[in-house]
């Protein structure tokens, strides 16, 4: 039987505010346990929450970034349950009136096509602390530094049909939040985590199958693998005559499998009700308009502009706009060298290749955009040829010079375009290679094309790679063919 996979994602994005959503404690990562948990975060008796304006602004910016409705009124609710990392015994969240209404995200697929994934809503909530399971005399330690960090939970519709689409969606969300600068998107530090809802159904069936929710998946790769495993598990289960149970599962990256979270007790009842310590958040039109007017260019717009204004191919535009870091880098290179296509080739070619080989992110590339721009500029104005350019790039990568110009000078890589100088080198090569010259001249026209390579190589070698290869070629042809 043909099976269709149905996936919906709940993405939790940690907003990069300075202070927490309801308190003035710092949100910085990596502090000593409980040193960033203030009275409000600890839920001490008598404390009260006050909402962080930046968390609101960031949430609204996200909403505008996905063309979502921004309701005038949103309300915070309490989600009640007991857990050691939840100090108040409830999480302040938004159940009934979220701050961001329905919107949509465009995702790019590997075949170059795009697809729209609907976002059901996004809401603000506070993060919980962390339980540390090292052994403290048989006890668990609780660190509440993270408690109260603002989260934007982005809930998609079940619009994705493959693990690849899910990953593309997650990448698109990642790109939007990092473009907006509302999150660092650092998945390793937990700034972005997601819960994946997966179900399968026979192809052509309209009704959804029973879904399993995979909790807290924290990398693009794990999302793909967790879905792959889960889909296979569900299909096997059904084909063996079983049934999928609606449950929460955990992805174990080491075993590369999902497994049922031990149900500690019967189904929870969160008893949501409006938080009486917070009032309705009312966003007037002027406020929303102001944020809209000040939105940065987002991935989709950037991609379109790269195509239409810079004349890049759809593929190049897609790759170069895939992350804000990549796009910013590319644009800086382009601005310095003044040639978008050349800049695109270098960023996607030499630079990306080297980054991939060393497993680095473009944000911490050893070659800065200004340096690469300077290098590409010298390629463009033919100060150096392609071969020398690669040498310069390697030197920049290894920190052998502050700029391309400096390295070109130091290594003497400036391209020789002086016809006289090149002619002198050619004459020398011809004089040194009587056998090859004779062979060349005896050869038919169609074979000569191949044979000329030898002479070009010799001349380039003589110039230590700095001669302009096109010039060398043309002049050689003239001289060899003359006799």
């Amino acid at each position: 039987m043909q099976w269709e996979t149905v996936i919906g994602l709940e993405v939790h994005v940690q907003l990069s505010t300075q202070s927490k959503i309801f308190s003035g404690a710092s949100t910085a990562f990596g502090a000593e346990p409980n040193t960033q948990a203030c009275a409000v975060d600890l839920g001490l008796p008598g404390v009260l929450p006050v909402l962080n304006e930046n968390a609101v602004s960031m949430a609204v910016q996200f909403g505008l970034g996905i063309n979502a409705e921004i309701p005038e009124v949103s309300v915070f609710d309490r989600k009640n349950y007991f857990y050691p990392d939840l100090p108040k015994g409830y999480q302040t969240s938004q159940m009934y009136h979220p701050i961001v209404g329905p919107g949509e995200v465009e995702i790019s697929l590997e075949d170059g096509s795009t697809k729209r994934v609907r976002v059901h809503h996004a809401h603000l909530e506070e993060d919980a602390g962390k339980s540390l399971h090292e052994d403290y005399h048989g006890m668990t330690g609780v660190d509440l530094n993270r408690a109260g960090t603002p989260l934007l939970e982005i809930v998609s519709e079940p619009d994705m049909r493959s693990a690849k689409e899910a990953v593309a969606y997650l990448r698109a969300i990642h790109a939007i939040v990092t473009y907006l600068g509302i999150s660092d998107g650092n998945m390793a530090e937990g700034s972005m985590r997601c819960d994946v809802n997966v179900s399968v159904r026979p192809a052509g069936q309209a009704a959804f199958g029973t879904r399993a929710e995979i909790k807290n998946v924290n990398s693009f790769r794990f999302v793909e693998r967790a879905i792959a495993f889960e889909v296979e598990r569900q299909i096997e289960l059904i084909e063996d005559g079983g049934q999928v149970t609606q449950e929460t599962r955990l992805y174990d990256p080491e075993a590369d499998e999902t497994r049922s979270m031990r149900t500690k007790e019967e189904a929870n009842d969160y008893r949501y009700f409006p938080c009486p310590d917070l009032l309705p958040v009312v966003l007037d039109k002027a406020y929303v308009d102001h944020l809209r007017d000040n939105l940065p260019e987002l991935p989709a717009e950037k991609r379109a502009r790269f195509e239409s204004e810079l004349g890049l191919s759809a593929y190049d535009a897609g790759v170069l706009s895939s992350s804000r870091a990549m796009a910013d880098y590319f644009e800086a290179v382009k601005d310095v060298c003044g040639d978008a296509k050349l800049a695109a080739n270098w960023v996607q070619g030499e630079l990306s290749g080297q980054l991939n080989r060393e497993g680095r992110d473009i944000a911490d590339s050893p070659v800065t955009a200004a340096q690469l721009g300077g290098l590409v500029l010298r390629v463009r104005d033919e100060t150096i040829n392609g071969k020398a350019a690669k040498q310069v790039f390697a030197a920049l990568w290894n920190g052998e010079g502050a700029s391309a110009d400096e390295i070109i000078e130091a290594k003497g890589l400036r391209q020789v375009t002086d016809t006289g100088a090149i002619e002198a080198m050619i004459d020398q090569v011809i004089a040194d290679s009587p056998v090859q010259v004779a062979q060349y001249r005896e050869a038919s026209e169609d074979k000569r094309g191949k044979m000329i390579g030898y002479f070009v190589g010799q001349v380039m070698k003589a110039s230590r790679g700095t001669a302009n290869p096109q010039q060398v070629n043309a002049l050689l042809k003239q001289k060899l063919d003359r006799a």
Binding site: L44, L48, P276
Partner: protein, 486 residues
Amino acid sequence: MHDKTLSELATALAAGEFSSRELTEHYLERIQRLDGELNSFITVTAEQALASADAADAARARGNVGALNGLPLALKDLFCTRGVRTSCGSRMLDNFESPYDATVVERLAAAGALSLGKTNMDEFAMGSSNENSYYGPVKNPWDLAAVPGGSSGGSAAAVAAGLVPAALGTDTGGSIRQPAAFCGITGLKPTYGRVSRYGMVAYASSLDQAGPMAYSAEDCALLLEAIAGHDPRDSTSVARGVPNYRDELSASLSGLRIGLPREYFGEGLDPGVESAIREAIKVYEGLGASVQEVSLPHTDLAIPAYYVIAPAEASSNLSRFDGVRFGHRCENPSDLIDLYKRSRAEGFGTEVKRRILMGTHTLSEGFFDAYYKKAQQVRRLIRQDFLDAFEEVDVLMGPAAPTPAFDLGAKKDPLSMYLQDVYTIAINLAGIPGISVPAGFVGRRPTGLQILGPHFSEQHLLNVAHQFQQATDWHRRRPAFGEENS
């Protein structure tokens, strides 16, 4: 000294008749001598009080002091006080020394006031008799067989007995006004949002409000001025200027339109209380006020709505008491669930558990719409009753409680206790201010006149109450308790 009102003490201190240290020592001596019987304090902070008194005296010598400089007060034991036990009348917090001060505590200190200690209360402010305290019941100084009312029973009894000239209480469904009435003092519940709730241990967040309890309306005005105003730490505190509440105390009441809610004079009202209230109304007529009957048609729904909303909020507010970061923790918990269940079972008393269970049940799946949402809708109707009434009249008057103080142990059934709040509870649901002023006695037990006004009408309410106190001396009466040996 202890027969003087807070305002008179302020004048006497300013005139140098005695020092703050002398005054403080006098009250501390009375507490030591008399509170064993009354049980109005949970914690007495004598040392800090004397140190603060000395500081206040020194400040006065330098000049330029706050309005409450050197005046001793007491705080209901749910205001967080740094370094001092803040118990909420509960075993759960018996070991809890707050690491921070409530905003109102900071404000009183900034005005120069000092605290003699923390007063007894119904556990987590849940009760109308002060019998639900881990620290035992408080007695009514007018009649030791009677309750002082609740939940701010300790504050009311301490003031009435002259153990402190004024105190702060909190009022979620009548917890300032009813004990003020039972103990023959003046108690003001301000408009919701007028006084910061930061550092006040929450019972029902949308209803809780702190307020002054003292001998006179003038005293309440003095205190309210110090504690009212916007607090950036409390989202529900209102950013609105604080008037000088004493400025208008002497304004004439000529032309004042008084409304008597029909529903507040019906079945269940003690005839003695009713006649005291009717006498008080006559005093107002003598002051130039006109009286008309009005209706608050949804009055009988206030108790049902309250006993859905308040327990629901409480069930969530009290979840933080889990034995992890503060408060009572059971011995040797076998696992997490055991830690929670035993710590909370041991830490909370019967009434608190009852309301947590009630609130948990009404919020749970399948019941939320029928109870919680419905109660919130009815809450709007109740508020509208008041808004409509204030279109016709300036203030509403009626009894603060249906009976005078009842006997200790008389109300064993929770429902009959809940009905005590029949005239006070709707006011919290509507968020309007209300004041209870002494209005006579039924036998030995005092009774209180409740005066209600529109949102943020405290200045006017205090004026209306003060004029009554200029014409009567009920607020000057003191119980015989403790006087035989003094």
